[in-house]
Symmetry: C2
Subunit: 224 residues, 2 copies
Amino acid sequence: MIKVEDLRKTYRAGLVEVPALRGVSFEVERGEYVAIVGPSGSGKSTLMHLLGCLDVPSGGRYMLDGVEVSTLGEDELARVRNRKIGFVFQGFHLLPRLTALENVELPLVYRGVDANTRREKAVRALEMVGLGARVQHYPNELSGGEQQRVAIARAMVGEPILLLADEPTGNLDSRTGAEVLDLFQRINDAGCTVVMVTHDMTAASRAKRLLKIRDGVLEGDERV
Amino acid sequence: MIKVEDLRKTYRAGLVEVPALRGVSFEVERGEYVAIVGPSGSGKSTLMHLLGCLDVPSGGRYMLDGVEVSTLGEDELARVRNRKIGFVFQGFHLLPRLTALENVELPLVYRGVDANTRREKAVRALEMVGLGARVQHYPNELSGGEQQRVAIARAMVGEPILLLADEPTGNLDSRTGAEVLDLFQRINDAGCTVVMVTHDMTAASRAKRLLKIRDGVLEGDERV
Ligand SMILES: Nc1ncnc2c1ncn2[C@@H]1O[C@H](COP(=O)(O)OP(=O)(O)OP(=O)(O)O)[C@@H](O)[C@H]1O
Ligand SMILES: Nc1ncnc2c1ncn2[C@@H]1O[C@H](COP(=O)(O)OP(=O)(O)OP(=O)(O)O)[C@@H](O)[C@H]1O
Ligand SMILES: [Mg+2]
Ligand SMILES: [Mg+2]
């Protein structure tokens, strides 16, 4: 499903170059549940953005479902992101002028799903993360952990085949976090490939494989 | 230092009322190190905003250093916030058009500190959280954990007497998180009162007292 070869990403901040990813190679089969761990600043979110087709690498190759992602045009990339991938951002990135419900409906709006069906699916996704009573709240009327859960609901509402979750439990107490991890387990059992960046070892232990990143390179790849 | 009596806060979201804090009472002596724990949505950040004079309660009283906070005018509140309190927000709230260095200098700008002194202090604060090499980066050029650490540096640069930290290690790996907790311990030893909301039990165990919040009320207060 995912094949990454010598993947590289260098940022420029002013005149300085930051080599965030310096040649990472690995494969992920369909249906796997992978955790990515490593120190702050080691390149994890950078890797996730490349896997989610949200950014382009500076070097190397990324094959998603057998297709070389760099050969895809803008429209096709947008289509892949919308139909195949669910992305939970480390910083949530909810739209501030939309309610929780409208934020979760958004991927289905882009897909052209009718208003009734998408409202129904969005409500169900929010109920699955325990936010049935918060659907009409705006992001600034939600706690940190509630915003995080809206981001999770939005990533799952379109039933993606690949869920990319960047620090999905960082703002959740252990019980709410466990509920989210149970949810990830359920969709993984249903066939969704899950790749999760986490600093939380409890969350990492729920995965079946651990990729360790340090300083932009892969320093460990273990089946657990 | 802190005395809270039957503190209440009710939000309005559209036509709905959300009683986020429903009568909380406790005292914190100077120099204490307190952790606040509880489920997502239980009222912790709401309480922190009241303690940080960033919001006004709907009921009850808050005395900071013997002064009833509701009797203070806007300018005085701003002065208290700037001179006495360091606040690490759950969502960081860095200014996007300022570099890490400029963000950390901001509390000293408001205080009228000269440019050389504040630059020196801001650089030192950033070095203390391991970001000496990132001072010229803008927030969107920083990893999640780096943004969190800039927010921590900014809260500490003015040498506050009260540090309020809302989920300060949520985006940090265990080692970087431990370094931040060591830093909090050092300023606590130096006399700063520390109140930290956390979902991380390792962080909570570094405090000497634990306040447990559930559904807007205090359900536990233990010395550890
Ligand atoms: N501006 C607001 N308007 C309406 N409701 C709000 C507002 N801000 C917060 N709330 C609600 O008040 C409750 C308490 O929020 P608070 O941010 O204090 O929770 P918390 O304990 O910090 O949660 P977390 O651990 O998820 O950060 C939540 O259920 C939230 O939905
Ligand atoms: N747009 C950018 N411009 C310049 N440097 C960047 C940019 N984005 C990220 N960086 C740098 O690249 C490095 C890797 O960032 P990345 O966000 O991938 O780290 P991370 O492993 O996700 O860290 P964390 O655990 O703190 O979230 C960091 O040192 C960061 O400062
Ligand atoms: Mg990251
Ligand atoms: Mg909170």
